[in-house]
Amino acid sequence: MKFGIVVNEGPYTHQASDSAYQFTRAALEKGHEIYRVFFYHDGVNNGTRLSVPPQDERNIQSNWTELAKQHKLDLVVCVAAAQRRGILDESEAKRAGKNADNIAPGFRISGLGQLIETGIESDRVVAFGD
């Protein structure tokens, strides 16, 4: 089956991103396909490459990047939510006149249409949030 995953909360304060990650791994292990993981609202904060968690804690951001690499996952960050919260890729940063970007490897920035598309193309949509 094709699953769409929605993540509405940022890392560390809430468990949502951890739960979504564990669910996604389990779905892949069972042979399901992940159509897309869509990061919305504060969920966009999962897509920064600047996080530096303590050595004895899991690195939520790099967990997603690694999983995307292994399974060719499509990790999409909502552009409107990302702009408000300061998650930018190189071209967004350039357009906004910012001197740095912070998007993590494996994530891409796109519009809310990608969420609707996830709903259309997936057999099941599962949302995680606060």
Binding site: K2, L112, G119, I120, V125
Partner: protein
């Protein structure tokens, strides 16, 4: 009732339900439309469409007028739960006037808001292909 087969894939139109359970401003969101879209307002979500919202004093944008434009995007089904209104001391008179022009009825202006009971809301939910909460 849809089966998995007829509800998935790029060609079949899906029924999307956006569930609003939270009050505005404390939690903010955007909406996007396509397909066969319904909105559900229950619990504190009914506060989203209360009229007379004036956000100047809190320095935030007032998103409630955007609901009035829903008809232009062919979103004409706004289900509001009666019990949620009553528990909050509200009635339909406290809600925004949200209407659409019915192209099948000589463009007559009709109300988009449908007050439903809790058990009817349960049926609305049961008739969807995709349910997203905000």
């Amino acid at each position: 009732m849809n089966t998995q087969e007829d509800s998935s894939g790029a060609n079949g139109q899906k029924r999307f339900l956006y569930v609003n359970r939270r009050a505005p401003y404390g939690t903010i969101y955007a909406l996007a439309f396509d397909q066969d879209v319904s909105l559900a307002f229950l619990d504190d979500g009914v506060y989203q469409i209360v009229k007379g919202q004036d956000t100047e004093g809190i320095g935030m944008k007032n998103f409630s007028p955007t609901y009035r434009a829903l008809g232009d995007f062919e979103v004409t089904k706004l289900f509001v739960e009666r019990e949620s209104l009553e528990e909050r001391g509200l009635s339909s008179d406290d809600l925004l006037d949200i209407t659409y022009e019915d192209e099948d009825d000589d463009w007559a202006e009709k109300p988009s808001i449908r007050i439903v009971s809790r058990s009817q809301m349960t049926e609305v939910m049961a008739a969807q292909d995709v349910i997203l909460s905000f």
